[in-house]
Amino acid sequence: MAELVDLAGGIAELVRDGDTVALEGFTHLIPSAAALEVLRQRRRDLTLVRMTPDLVHDQLIGAGCARRLVFSWGGNPGVGSLHRLRDAVENGWPAPLEIEEHSHAGMANRYVAGASGLPFAVLRGYQGTGLGAHTDTVATVTCPFTGENLAAVAALRPDVTVIHAQRADRRGNVQLWGLVGVQKEAVLAATRSLVTVEEIVDELEPRPDAVVLPSWVVTAVAVVPGGARPSYAQGYYERDNDAYRAWDAVSRSRERFTDWLAEVS
């Protein structure tokens, strides 16, 4: 059953140096506060996994927490580049960053395979593109019935997945709704999981388009109101589009970023 923890304690316990860490959230419910706590606790040598690394990954990469990034689209949504990610890939600053790059369809299916206890997933993907040559977690399988060739992608099995959700109940059952992305799969694929939530309620009222993760597949729950900001939590607060735009200026220069880092650390 999920344990109720405070954020700092949960990160200390569940996210370890050298881990493969999925911080998921597809444009909604991004676990921003938890990511910042990972940064503050100066984790090192992480393999960061996310379909859409954004501000939180720019921060972790700039702070030197990551050795490797596994992803499918790395940008500041609606704004432009992730300058810290670019600086790491283009110039090796503050340290070289290995990348393992996929398409969204490939990453989503890698999580599905992980959640399903399978070593790989099959999809129609990557055909005629340049990625296959650079990514060794893409291969080909042949359909035993039709002889068709299809893409295979290796399962993702993070050591730990961190997500943000709207609520949990006192037993540790977690509920999220709105755009639910790939969070269920990311939690089910991982060995351990930490869910930050806006609030704990007595009873999870059923809601349209809600995903519920039973307590027994979640390792720990931490109450972190506003834990997704500047992303949004449907039903709680809106996306702070200005903060996404403001990050562009902070992250553009190593100096301003370093100042930001000193402030938050």
Binding site: F71, G75, L85, E90, G130, L131, G178
Partner: protein, 251 residues
């Protein structure tokens, strides 16, 4: 009420959505065009966003593909794996809308890097996202790119999403089941693949745009259709709806 170059692009692309049932929408100009089409040219058009909103009807333009209003107004909200596996992959979606940093004469698209090598690029771009499978699986693909020699290059630095590859037969050989890019809308005109060679050919220019300007903004020896047409200028209805749509949104 003179249209800007972006408005011309957007209206031209929106018109091409008339008669289609469903459209897989990326953010930026494609989203603007698709939302304009739903208001003016095709009220029943189902907009599908990779964030999981199927049949979204946003009242204003979303800044990101994951704005809350998409879920709130959608016919159905599904997980990201489901969008790709049940909706995109089987080829149920009529039109996929893509942008790119670079494209070549066969409409192969690059959103991965420009300059240098994959390992050590000069400019690292965001990457694939949903584009490779949108380009593979939608029945047709529309591309929107502002015309310049930086974008329209003889050879892309990386093929993120396959267009017509190296020419005739490429898509079939790779098992790409959709028709691929059938329309490239720019701020200067419209390009379409030649039915035989699959090479992008200028088929229309926007009003007042000389063909020489289009050639000058294209990094290869651009072919021009013998029956080159001219885009109908945006109507005042199209422009006023478009401006109401983009008013509140920025940047």
């Amino acid at each position: 009420m003179r249209p800007t170059a972006d408005e011309l692009m957007t209206v031209t692309a929106a018109r091409a959505l008339a008669g289609h049932v469903s459209c897989f929408v990326g953010i930026g100009l494609p989203s603007t065009a698709a939302n304009l089409a739903r208001r003016v040219h095709n009220p029943d058009l189902s907009l599908i966003y990779e964030s999981g909103a199927i049949g979204a009807r946003p009242s204003r333009l979303p800044l990101s593909i994951g704005d809350g209003e998409l879920a709130e107004t959608a016919d159905a909200v599904v997980s990201v794996p489901e969008v790709f596996n049940y909706w995109l992959q089987p080829g149920r979606i009529d039109v996929g809308f893509l942008g790119a940093a670079q494209l070549d004469r066969f409409a192969n698209l690059n959103t991965t890097f420009v300059g240098g090598t994959y390992q050590r690029p000069t400019v690292r771009l965001p990457g694939s996202g949903g584009a490779p499978e949108i380009a593979a699986s939608c029945r047709e693909v529309f591309v929107m790119v502002r015309h310049s020699r930086r974008a329209f290059v003889a050879e892309v630095d990386f093929v993120t999403s396959a267009g017509h590859g190296t020419g005739p037969g490429f898509r079939a050989a790779w098992g790409l089941r959709g028709a691929g890019p059938v329309l490239v809308v720019t701020d200067l005109g419209v390009l379409e693949p030649d039915p035989v060679t699959r090479e992008l050919t200028l088929t229309r220019v926007h009003p007042g745009v000389p063909v020489a300007d289009v050639r000058a903004a294209t990094g290869w020896d651009l072919r021009v259709a013998p029956d080159l047409g001219t885009t109908e200028p945006p109507t005042s209805q199209e422009l006023s709806v478009l401006r109401r749509l983009t008013e509140g949104s920025s940047p």
